[in-house]
């Protein structure tokens, strides 16, 4: 456990050293959701309902997106690509933990600092969009528990997806297109810009076969109280299935990658 704590401290110190850099990424992550909030504010000036949503449920949905985008989304792929390409991955190989765990602990520490930026942002959003207005949202502990547990699984799942893209650099010199493809599919089918139930049925069906729906959309729906216990359990099970699948894939591909990996010089 001590070694993981050491990795955690290293990453935390690194994040603190580049806190402005982190702030830029933070702004980048909250931007689209904030834009949509202003848009819905104008839409609801003329009407009370959009699909199954009233103004407050949409605001909560986008606040969840802001929360989850900052705490769930990880990006180890770009750094991995550079490290594999330049041979810097050597630094990690003799360490007393495997690369997947080290990168995972690094990401947790990174999120820790982002959380500090997140709290005031959520408070400001609450004051701007919700404070002083009456809304009939019922807060329930089981929903919150589901949301937090599901978000933790989402964090692991998304980390593995990105890690998988990163380690494909053992074979591909350039992975920017893969990263771009993944982001594109995620934006379409992950409910990042709009809740998925405002999409046409055909697109919702496609989204059901992909892991992205389970990363943001379903945790958000759970928090909004739109899932019953059965649906929550099913959602968690499917999330668990994707997690297991990607874990096995990452392990296998990483081991194969290491076998073909070569670096020259000291």
């Amino acid at each position: 456990m001590g070694k993981y704590l050491a990795f955690f401290k290293i990453s935390l110190k690194k994040s603190l050293a580049y806190r402005l850099r982190l702030l830029v990424w933070f702004l980048w992550e909250i931007g689209p959701a904030l834009i949509m909030l202003f848009f819905w504010l104008a839409v609801f000036a003329n009407q009370d309902q959009v699909g199954n949503y009233n103004f407050y449920s949409l605001v909560i949905y986008y606040l969840v997106i802001i929360f989850a985008r900052n705490l769930v989304l990880t990006h180890p792929d770009i750094a991995l690509q550079k490290e594999i390409y330049n041979g810097e991955i050597n630094i990690y190989l003799p360490r007393p933990a495997d690369l997947i765990t080290i990168k995972f602990v690094y990401e947790i520490a990174y999120k820790f600092l982002k959380f500090l930026y997140l709290i005031p942002t959520l408070i400001i959003c609450y004051l701007v969009f919700l404070s002083g207005r009456h809304f009939d949202y019922q807060f329930l502990w089981p929903n919150l528990t589901f949301f937090l547990f599901s978000c933790s699984l989402s964090f692991c799942l998304y980390f593995l997806i990105k890690f998988l893209i990163g380690i494909l650099s053992f074979w591909l010199t350039e992975i920017e297109w893969l990263d771009s493809l993944e982001m594109l599919i995620f934006w379409f089918f992950g409910g990042l810009l709009l809740p998925l139930d405002l999409f046409p049925k055909s697109m919702q069906n496609i989204a059901g076969f992909l892991p992205f729906k389970y990363i943001f959309y379903l945790p958000a729906q759970g928090l909004l109280g739109r899932l019953n216990q059965q649906q929550m359990l099913t959602s968690l099970l499917i999330q668990g299935f994707w997690l297991l699948l990607f874990f096995i894939l990452v392990k296998k591909i990483y081991q194969r990658g290491l076998k073909i990996y070569s670096v020259f010089g000291g």
């Binding site: 850099r21 931007g31 504010l41 959009v50 010199t173 999409f199 046409p200």
Partner: protein
């Protein structure tokens, strides 16, 4: 009164400075006339373009795929409006057709700005932090020109064509009447928009001189640019004024789209032109000020 007189004097001296600069243009530019200098810059710009094509052809498959994914992002924005307007009739003054004109304009503006500046601003922080700016400063050419326009980002090519296609389709299908003045004002406002985006983006990148190693400084402006996908008339009062008068984001997408729809006053166009010049001038000033804080790396 004293403030007014001082400002007047300042501007008078400033204009005199300009006049002298143009009078002594040949002296400042090693005996070359204005036309020759313009030709030289154009030739350099052509070389930049050729180099960018050569750089992109290094990973051809990746480049080809990224062109289409870039186009995919354009689809995201268009579908966003298509899906939303299945549930919504009107947002402020913007109905479905008008919103599509706005979305297409947004795509055009983003494609243009990415094409011209993105790659350059991505390298901006590295240039300053690693000291590579030295190699640009010693060249007999405007350093701001070289830093801002050296590389072209060719990936938004399909997105650019797609945006025009969407725009033309919406205009034709909805029989929106156009005349030559509307088209010219649209193109001029697109130009103004590019100047405003360039200036704001460039100024935000210049912060790296003071803030140190922030390799993602070019991303600071991205959330702001994305905000322009919204029609600015729908924002609450104070924000609307702020984005019109102080930070003229309204001229990036909303105003060009409104001009094409015939909803824009000439006064607003003139103000847009004026503010774009002010911002461009400001960007040059910030650059010169920032260079004073440049310490190189050696």
């Amino acid at each position: 009164m004293e403030f007014f007189l001082k400002t007047k004097l300042y501007f008078k001296n400033y204009l005199k400075g300009f006049k002298n600069y143009f009078r002594n243009f040949k002296i400042f530019n090693h005996g070359h006339g204005f036309k020759t200098i313009l030709k030289l810059y154009f030739r350099v710009y052509q070389c930049f373009f050729k180099n960018s094509i050569m750089a992109e052809s290094q990973y051809r498959l990746s480049f080809f795929l990224l062109i289409w994914f870039n186009f995919g992002w354009a689809l995201v924005y268009i579908f966003l409006y298509v899906f939303i307007f299945k549930f919504v009739d009107q947002v402020g003054d913007w109905n479905y057709q008008r919103s599509l004109v706005l979305a297409a304009t947004f795509l055009l503006v983003r494609a243009l700005n990415s094409f011209l500046f993105k790659q350059n601003f991505q390298n901006f922080a590295d240039l300053v932090y690693r000291g590579d700016l030295d190699f640009i400063l010693i060249k007999p050419i405007s350093s701001q020109f070289m830093v801002s326009l050296k590389k072209f980002y060719l990936r938004p090519f399909v997105r650019f064509i797609f945006a025009w296609l969407v725009l033309i389709t919406v205009l034709v299908q909805n029989q929106i009447k156009l005349n030559i003045i509307l088209v010219i004002s649209y193109l001029l406002l697109l130009l103004i928009s590019v100047i405003i985006v360039y200036s704001l983006w460039f100024i935000s990148c210049c912060l790296v001189f003071w803030l140190g190693n922030i390799d993602n400084i070019h991303e600071v402006f991205q959330p702001v640019l994305r905000l322009t996908a919204l029609p600015f008339d729908i924002l609450p009062g104070v924000l609307k004024e702020l984005f019109f008068l102080v930070i003229p984001l309204v001229f990036i997408t909303t105003m060009p789209a409104k001009s094409l729809l015939g909803l824009l006053s000439w006064a607003a166009c003139v103000y847009g032109f004026f503010i774009s010049l002010v911002l461009f001038y400001l960007s040059a000033k910030v650059w010169h000020l920032a260079l004073k804080y440049y310490v190189s790396a050696a």
